[in-house]
Structures are given as structure tokens and as C-alpha cells.
């Protein structure tokens, strides 16, 4: 396939993926908005008042970055895992397999779909957030790049989950038992300094911690982790997961007999 044809194939996939989650926006875009609003009312407003300022910001403002990023992570992941799994289950993944699209274009198409959902949800959740919290923006470049990279990373992870999944259980196990705990323990609601030394060390093994901190830096200008380290870790994970996803596609794992 020539570049132009590959581009058309990519565009087709992206439009298809975009329409897929937009058509069902009540299931895809609305829930994170509702959840985030609840977090703000309960944690930010009611409990937050008892907590007092965190590193110079109100508790409400402190948790905004983590909550936005949490929604981006969950939604990017969910979009790709469910889209690819249904394509397998209903066999319409075959429409792509019989066509001359290179595997990296297929992967890029699904990831772009996940990123589109991540960004859409990010916009919706951010709007909600700033109805409750005051608006801060420290570095637009950091904010945009971290959102994009995090979204790519978890879209890739969702893709790999979709490739391995055989049943509906398989697509909910990772989000429930891995993703959610890691996000909660990744410092959405607290600063690393508040933990005992042992737990601080352990938290450093959690990749999501690095993303939340970098993103918080972009919004509030504070972080527990050096920025470069955060970027290094996110990009490193993207490269590893991207390579794994491509390898699975090349081997036809779970899609070719």
C-alpha cells in the first residue's frame, strides 16, 4: 500500500472509532462527568474543607489534575479494549484482515480512537472540574503532552488486553483489579510526602504516579517527581507496549487461526 492509501485506511479507522463512541455518548462520555462531579462534591467540598491546603492549594484544586487524568486513563483503555474485543467477537476484524492494511496502521487506528475518546472525556471532565475548582494552568505544553502520551499509553494497553481477551470477563479484569487500584494509589488524592517511607518507596513502582505528578505540574506547578523522569517512564512504556501490540498483530494472535 502506498502512503496515501495507508492514510485513507487510517482515516477510515479513526472516523469509525470516533463515531462508535460518540453514538453511545451516554455510555462513554457522560459517566466520567457524573463520577468526577461526585468526587468534587464529596471529596473536594465536604471532606476537603476538613483537610486544609495542600502545598499551597486548596484540596479541591489539588485533586483536579489526578481526577482528570484518571478519567483519561480509564476511558482510553476502555475504548480500545471494548472496540477491539467486539471486532473479534463479531468477526468484523476480518474486514481489516482481508484488506492490505499494514498492521501498524490497524494499531494506530485503534489507538487514535482511544486517544479521541480520552481527549473528549478530558474536555468534558475539565469543564466540570473548573465549575467546582478554581482555574489553574502552569504549563500548557506539559498538560497537552502528558494527556496525549498517557492516552496513547493506555490505549495501547487496552489494545493488548483486547487481543488476549476471550470472554467479557477478560476485558473487565484488568480495569477493575489493576487499573483502578493503581490510579487510586498513584497519588490522585494525596501527596507522596504524606505516606510513610516504605509506602513512598513502593509507590514509586507505580507508573501512574509519574503521570499524575507530571500532569499536576502542568496544571498547578507542583510535583513529587522530576519531570524528565515522568516523561522517560511514559515514553518507555509506550515503546514497550507498542512493540508488544505490533508483535501480537503480526503473529495474528487471537485473530487468525
Amino acid at each position: 500500500m502506498r502512503w496515501r492509501q495507508q492514510w485513507i485506511a487510517f482515516e477510515t479507522l479513526v472516523i469509525k472509532e470516533f463515531l462508535r463512541f460518540i453514538r453511545i455518548w451516554v455510555q462513554t462520555v457522560l459517566p466520567p462527568v457524573v463520577t468526577t462531579a461526585l468526587y468534587f462534591i464529596i471529596f473536594g467540598n465536604l471532606i476537603g474543607r476538613q483537610i486544609g491546603p495542600m502545598e499551597g492549594f486548596s484540596y479541591m484544586d489539588y485533586i483536579v489534575p489526578g481526577l482528570i487524568l484518571m478519567a483519561v486513563i480509564t476511558n482510553s483503555y476502555a475504548n480500545v479494549v471494548s472496540s477491539f474485543f467486539s471486532a473479534k467477537l463479531q468477526h468484523y476484524v476480518e474486514e481489516m484482515l482481508v484488506a492490505p492494511i499494514p498492521n501498524y496502521v490497524i494499531l494506530a487506528g485503534f489507538v487514535a480512537g482511544g486517544v479521541a475518546r480520552g481527549l473528549t472525556v478530558c474536555a468534558a471532565v475539565s469543564t466540570t472540574a473548573f465549575l467546582f475548582a478554581s482555574f489553574h494552568l502552569h504549563s500548557l505544553a506539559t498538560v497537552l503532552s502528558m494527556i496525549l502520551l498517557t492516552s496513547i499509553l493506555f490505549s495501547l494497553a487496552g489494545f493488548i488486553n483486547g487481543v488476549y481477551a476471550r470472554t467479557f470477563d477478560d476485558i473487565s479484569i484488568v480495569p477493575t483489579f489493576v487499573l483502578t487500584p493503581l490510579t487510586y494509589l498513584g497519588g490522585v488524592f494525596y501527596s507522596l510526602d504524606m505516606l510513610p517511607a516504605f509506602w513512598q518507596k513502593l509507590s514509586l513502582a507505580n507508573p501512574i504516579l509519574y503521570m499524575i505528578n507530571a500532569f499536576r505540574y502542568g496544571i498547578l506547578g507542583i510535583t513529587d517527581i522530576p519531570l524528565a523522569l515522568s516523561y522517560g517512564i511514559v515514553i518507555g512504556f509506550i515503546l514497550v507496549l507498542g512493540a508488544l501490540a505490533l508483535r501480537l498483530l503480526d503473529r495474528g494472535y487471537g485473530i487468525r487461526h
Partner: protein, 310 residues
Amino acid sequence: MSKALDIRGLRKVYGNGFEALHGIDLTVEEGDFFGLLGPNGAGKSTAIGIVCSLVRKTAGQVRVFGIDIDRDFSSAKSHIGLVPQEFNFHVFEPVIEILINQAGYYGIPRRIASERAERNLHQLGLWDKRNSIARNLSGGMKRRLMIARALTHEPRLLILDEPTAGVDIEIRRSMWQFMRERNRAGTTIILTTHYLEEAEALCDTIAIINDGRVIEHADKKTLLTRMPRETFILDLRRPLTQLPAIPDFGLRQIDPLTLEVDLTRHCTLNDLFQALSRHGIEVLSLRNESNRLEQLFMEIVGNDDRERQA
């Protein structure tokens, strides 16, 4: 003539250890209307799946218009259009989107894709349904949708895996017409079907697969002249109480008004009627017991099964 498809020593062992293809050879000439026949589970869809990259081969070589799929599967695929045996579209997607997306996967711009989709949907009688979601089509419409989808990139080789299964007679005839026109316009067609009259009506070349082996591969005319015998059913004018002894014809009485007869290649229908007239038997009408290719198919597959059991 060049070869549209050339398969050498193709083997497939599935993950569970089952050997579905035991090294088959098949050639389809460009422009041919090729019938791939065989009982359920013979390995037809497996072979087709390998050619279209849905199934990974265990061994062997496949060339599509001279392109080895191991060397350049991508260009090989761009020449093939597949109508699979099982429905495999997104059931909540509108018909027109399914076609345009499929074209997109082949790198065809939207504008050209919609023009082609419109033409093909008209020809296949689905234009009215273009905005329906696929799930709301009838079974026969879904099959035609998959044909339209396989044509969006104007493939030189069209592979149809039981495209007429569950399609009513009228639509089936119009699909035959459609396939014939495509073939005349230069598209090579490979068709699998369990309706042998369909293969007899459409195909120029026939291959029969049984148990993962090709047991017959010839042009249809040659094949039919090899028919050892043909069975006819005769409807009689008057009830027959006693079947007269007429040698050479393997005459059997089904009921007082019906006879069955096997005609070998040495006898003609004239011989038969002369013999019947001599015994005062009047025949009202005559029909084939089954389609000719069907009889031949039963013989060939039956012999193969017996040989392998022995």
C-alpha cells in the same frame, strides 16, 4: 493464460492438532468460473481462509496472480474480494457505511467508494436498504451485502464461500446472473456451494475436496462425460401391476405409476423407449432423479470414502 490462483502442497494443522488440509494443489486460470465443491468439513473454507489471510497455513505455497503471499501478502490481498461463509460485519453499522469503510481499508477515497457502493447496491437490489443497520436485513440481504462489500475495491479474483446459502430461488437466480456478468466482464470467480445445480449452471472448472484432499480437478464438460450412468424417473400413463423383465436398464418400480431407470453411457433414451413400447408401457413425463453433477459428486465422494475406509 495466467493463473489467478496457484496453490501447491497446502497443509493446515489447526491448533488442536486437527489436520484440515493434507497438502492440496489447485490452480485457477484467470477468467475462470471455478467451483470448489466438497462435503461439510472437507476443508473448503480453510483453504479460502488461508488465501485471504484469515487462517495461517502450516505449509505450502500460495500465489495470487503470480504474487507469493509469503513475499507480498499485501499486494496479493488487494486483488482478492472475499464473500465469507459466515456473516462478519458490524451488525449496528448502516449498510452504506460498511461498504465505504471496507473500501477505506483498501485505501480507496470516500468519494469513489460511495459511487461504487451506490452502483453495487443498485445491482444487488439493496439500494433501498442503504441506511438500514445491517442487523435489520434479512438473511438473503445480508449475503448480498457481503457481495457488495467484496466488490468495493474491484478485485480481479472474487471468492464466494456459499453465497447463496439460505437465499430464495428468485434472488438466487438474480445472483447467478450477477456473478455471470462479473465473470464475463473479466473477474475470475471461485465459488463454493452445496447446491450442485448451481455449480453445474455456473462453473467452467470444478474441483472436489474431500477430507482435506483434492479428489477431482477438471473442467466441467470433461467431468460430465465421465458420468458412468444417469438416473431418470418416469411417470406412467397407466398403473403397472407387474414390472416386465427388460435387461440392460436396471429398471425399478417405485409405485404403480412411477419407474426409475439407470441409463449407462452405452444406451440411449431411444433404446429405452423402444424397449418400453414393446411392453406397452406409455411414459407421460420424464425427469432426472437429481442434477447430473450431483450424481457424479455422490459417486466420486462415495468412492473416495470407501477407498479410504478399506
